[in-house]
C-alpha cells in the first residue's frame, strides 16, 4: 500500500498524463476507504455544476483566434506609437505588448509564437544584443499572467472559491511591478545603445489607433463590463468570444472559415487538458480533505515556522520548486486546496496567496531545466535550450525580485481591493 504513492509519483515524472495519475490516486484512496468507485464519476460530473467554468473555453478560444489574426501586429504598432519614444523603446514596447496579449491568451505559450515571432527580428534589427532579445522574448511570454482576464486568475478563483473580480483587481499592481522591473533592466542593460524606437508622433498614434479600432473596444468591454458589475465573468467571456469571432472572421476576414475548425480544435485541446485535470482533482482533493491532509500539513508546517513572515518564505521556496516541475494549471487545482487552509491559519489573505502563487508559477515558465517557455522559444527560434537558460537568467533574477516583493508586501496586492 505504501508503495502506491511513490509509484504514482514516478509515473508522473516519467511523463504519464497528470489527469490519469490524479485519477489513479483518487480511485486508490476511495477503494482504501471502502467508497464505491463511482465516486470518481460523480466528482468529475460536478464540472457541470460550476457555471463560471464556461469562461475558460470561451476566453481560450478568443485568445487563440486573436493570436492567429493580425491583432499581434496591430498591438505592437500601437504600443510602439505610445511607448516607442522611451529609451530602449522597442524593448519596453515588447514587454508591454506581451503582457497585454498574455492577459487575453492565458499564458499558454501562444504569446511567444504570436508576438515573439514579430518582436525578435525587430529587436535584432534595432541593434539590441541577441542574447538579450532571446531572454526578453522568452520571459515576456508569460508576463501579464496577473492581468485580467487571464486564465490562471480565473482558475485560482474557482478553486479557492473567492470572487474572481477581486483577483482581477489584486493582480494589477503586482503585474505592473514586474513590467516596471524588467523595463528598468532593459533600459540599464542597453544604456550603450539606448535607441528610442521613434519620436512620439500624434499622427502615428492616430493611425495606429485607427488600425486597431476593432480590438480597442475589447479590453474596455471586458474589464469595464466586469468591474461595473454589468457582466458576470462568463458573460464577458461569451461577448469576447463572439465579438472576436465576428471581427476576425467576418469583418476583417483575417481568418478564413476553413481555418476556423483547426483553431477551435487546437484551443479546445488545451481546455480539455485543463478541465480533465480539474475534474479528476476534484475527486482527489475531496478525498484528501476528508482524510485530513490539510490539518496534517498544518501541523507539519507549524513545526518549522511560527509567523506569517516565515510561512511566506517557506511558501515561496516551495512554490519555486513546484513551478519548476508542474505547469501552472495543474499546480492550481492540485496544490491550492491543500495550502489555502494552512495559509489562512498563518494569517495570509486568500487573494494575496493567489497573487503570490501565480507570480511564482509564472517564474516556473522560465525555470530550467523544464520551463515550458524555454522549450517553446527553443523550438520557435531554433536555438539550443541551454542558450535560452543562459539568456533568460537576468530576466529570471529580476522577476524573482518582483516575486519576493509581491510575497512580502501583501499591501501591493490588496491595495486596490479597499
Amino acid at each position: 500500500m505504501i508503495v502506491v504513492g511513490p509509484i504514482l509519483i514516478l509515473l508522473a515524472l516519467l511523463g504519464a498524463p497528470l489527469f490519469a495519475v490524479i485519477a489513479a490516486s483518487a480511485m486508490f484512496g476511495f477503494s482504501r476507504e471502502g467508497i464505491d468507485l463511482q465516486a470518481i464519476a460523480i466528482e468529475f460530473y460536478s464540472i457541470a455544476e460550476m457555471p463560471i467554468l464556461l469562461a475558460i473555453p470561451l476566453f481560450t478560444f478568443a485568445g487563440y483566434l486573436l493570436s492567429e489574426s493580425g491583432a499581434p501586429r496591430r498591438l505592437v504598432r500601437l504600443t510602439g506609437a505610445l511607448l516607442g519614444w522611451m529609451p530602449a523603446g522597442l524593448a519596453i514596447v515588447s514587454l508591454a505588448a506581451c503582457a497585454f496579449f498574455t492577459a487575453f491568451t492565458g499564458a499558454s505559450g501562444v504569446t511567444i509564437i504570436a508576438l515573439g515571432a514579430l518582436l525578435f527580428p525587430a529587436l535584432q534589427q534595432a541593434g539590441y544584443p541577441e542574447k538579450f532579445n532571446l531572454g526578453l522574448v522568452t520571459s515576456a511570454g508569460s508576463l501579464g499572467l496577473l492581468f485580467a482576464p487571464s486564465l490562471p486568475l480565473i482558475l485560482y478563483g474557482i478553486v479557492a472559491e473567492i470572487p474572481v473580480e477581486d483577483l482581477f483587481l489584486a493582480g494589477i499592481l503586482p503585474g505592473f511591478l514586474m513590467i516596471l522591473l524588467l523595463s528598468g533592466y532593459s533600459v540599464w542593460k542597453n544604456r550603450a545603445v539606448r535607441v528610442p524606437l521613434s519620436d512620439f508622433s500624434w499622427k502615428e498614434v492616430r493611425s495606429a489607433l485607427r488600425e486597431a479600432m476593432w480590438e480597442i473596444p475589447l479590453p474596455i468591454v471586458v474589464l469595464g463590463g466586469i468591474y461595473s458589475g454589468y457582466f458576470a465573468i462568463s458573460e464577458a467571456a461569451a461577448v469576447t468570444a463572439l465579438y472576436v469571432l465576428i471581427v476576425d472572421v467576418f469583418i476583417l476576414r483575417e481568418i478564413s472559415l476553413r481555418k476556423l475548425p483547426d483553431i477551435m480544435r487546437e484551443s479546445m485541446v488545451l481546455v480539455g487538458g485543463i478541465l480533465v485535470i480539474l475534474g479528476m482533482s476534484l475527486a482527489s482533493t475531496n478525498y484528501m480533505i476528508d482524510t485530513g491532509v490539510p490539518q496534517k500539513l498544518l501541523e507539519y508546517v507549524s513545526l518549522m515556522v511560527t509567523s506569517e513572515l516565515s510561512f511566506l518564505l517557506l511558501l515561496l521556496l516551495f512554490l519555486l520548486v513546484l513551478g519548476a516541475i508542474l505547469d501552472i494549471f495543474s499546480a492550481i487545482v492540485l496544490v491550492v486546496p491543500l495550502i489555502l487552509p494552512v495559509a489562512m491559519q498563518f494569517g495570509v489573505d486568500p487573494v494575496h496567496l493567489g497573487i503570490v502563487f501565480l507570480a511564482t508559477m509564472q517564474l516556473g515558465y522560465i525555470t530550467p531545466p523544464v520551463g515550458l517557455n524555454l522549450f517553446i522559444a527553443s523550438y520557435r527560434f531554433d536555438r539550443p535550450v541551454v542558450e535560452l537558460y543562459i539568456s533568460t537568467l537576468p530576466f529570471f533574477i529580476f522577476l524573482l525580485i518582483a516575486v519576493a516583493i509581491i510575497t512580502f508586501w501583501p499591501g501591493l496586492s490588496l491595495a486596490l481591493l479597499g
Binding site: P17, A20, A41, A241, M264, V271, L275, L278, I325
Partner: protein, 169 residues
C-alpha cells in the same frame, strides 16, 4: 498485421473527423447560446430557464471531448522531466509503461462512470426539463472509453516498435 494496421488507421481517420465535428459543434453552440442569452435578457427581457443548465452541460461535454482530442497526439498535460534524458530505447520502454497505465486508468474511469450512468438511469433523473439525465451523462463512459482505447493503441504500436527494433529483419 498490415490488415489490422489498415483497419486501425481507418478507424483513426474516422475518429478524427467525428471528433473535430463534435468539438466545433459544441463550441459554436456554446458561444451562440451564451452570447444570445445575454442579448435576449438585456434587450428583450426574455430569459431561458434551461439555457444556464444547458451551458453547464456543454462545458462538461467540451471538457471530455477536448480531453479525447488531446489524447489523439498524446497532448495531455504532463511532467516531462526524466524522459528527455533517457536513451532512445529506454524512453520507448517507459512510454509503453506510461501509456499502458493511462489506458488502464481511463478504462477503469469509463467502467465506473458507466455504473454511475446506469444508476442515474434507474433513478430516472431528468435534466433540461425532460431529457433523461443519463443520455447527457453518457459522455463520461464514452469519452474515457475512447481515451483508454487511444492509449491502448499507442501501447500496442510502441510494443511492436520495440520488437521491431530488437530484431531488425
Amino acid at each position: 498485421m498490415s490488415r489490422i494496421e489498415s483497419i486501425l488507421s481507418r478507424l483513426e481517420k474516422a475518429g478524427k473527423i467525428g471528433e473535430d465535428a463534435i468539438l466545433v459543434l459544441i463550441l459554436t453552440t456554446m458561444i451562440l447560446l451564451a452570447a444570445g442569452q445575454i442579448i435576449l435578457r438585456n434587450f428583450m427581457d426574455i430569459g431561458f430557464i434551461w439555457a444556464d443548465e444547458m451551458l453547464r452541460m456543454l462545458v462538461l461535454w467540451l471538457a471530455v471531448a477536448g480531453a479525447v482530442a488531446a489524447s489523439r497526439n498524446d497532448k495531455h498535460i504532463n511532467i516531462d522531466v526524466l524522459n528527455r534524458f533517457l536513451p532512445e530505447r529506454m524512453a520507448l520502454v517507459v512510454k509503453v509503461l506510461v501509456h499502458l497505465f493511462t489506458a488502464i486508468v481511463c478504462g477503469s474511469v469509463a467502467w465506473h462512470s458507466l455504473a454511475f450512468v446506469q444508476m442515474s438511469r434507474e433513478f430516472e433523473d431528468v435534466l433540461l426539463g425532460r431529457i433523461p439525465a443519463w443520455i447527457l451523462q453518457a459522455v463520461l463512459p464514452v469519452g474515457f472509453g475512447l481515451i483508454s482505447w487511444r492509449y491502448g493503441v499507442f501501447t500496442v504500436k510502441e510494443v511492436l516498435r520495440l520488437f521491431h527494433k530488437a530484431r531488425p529483419a
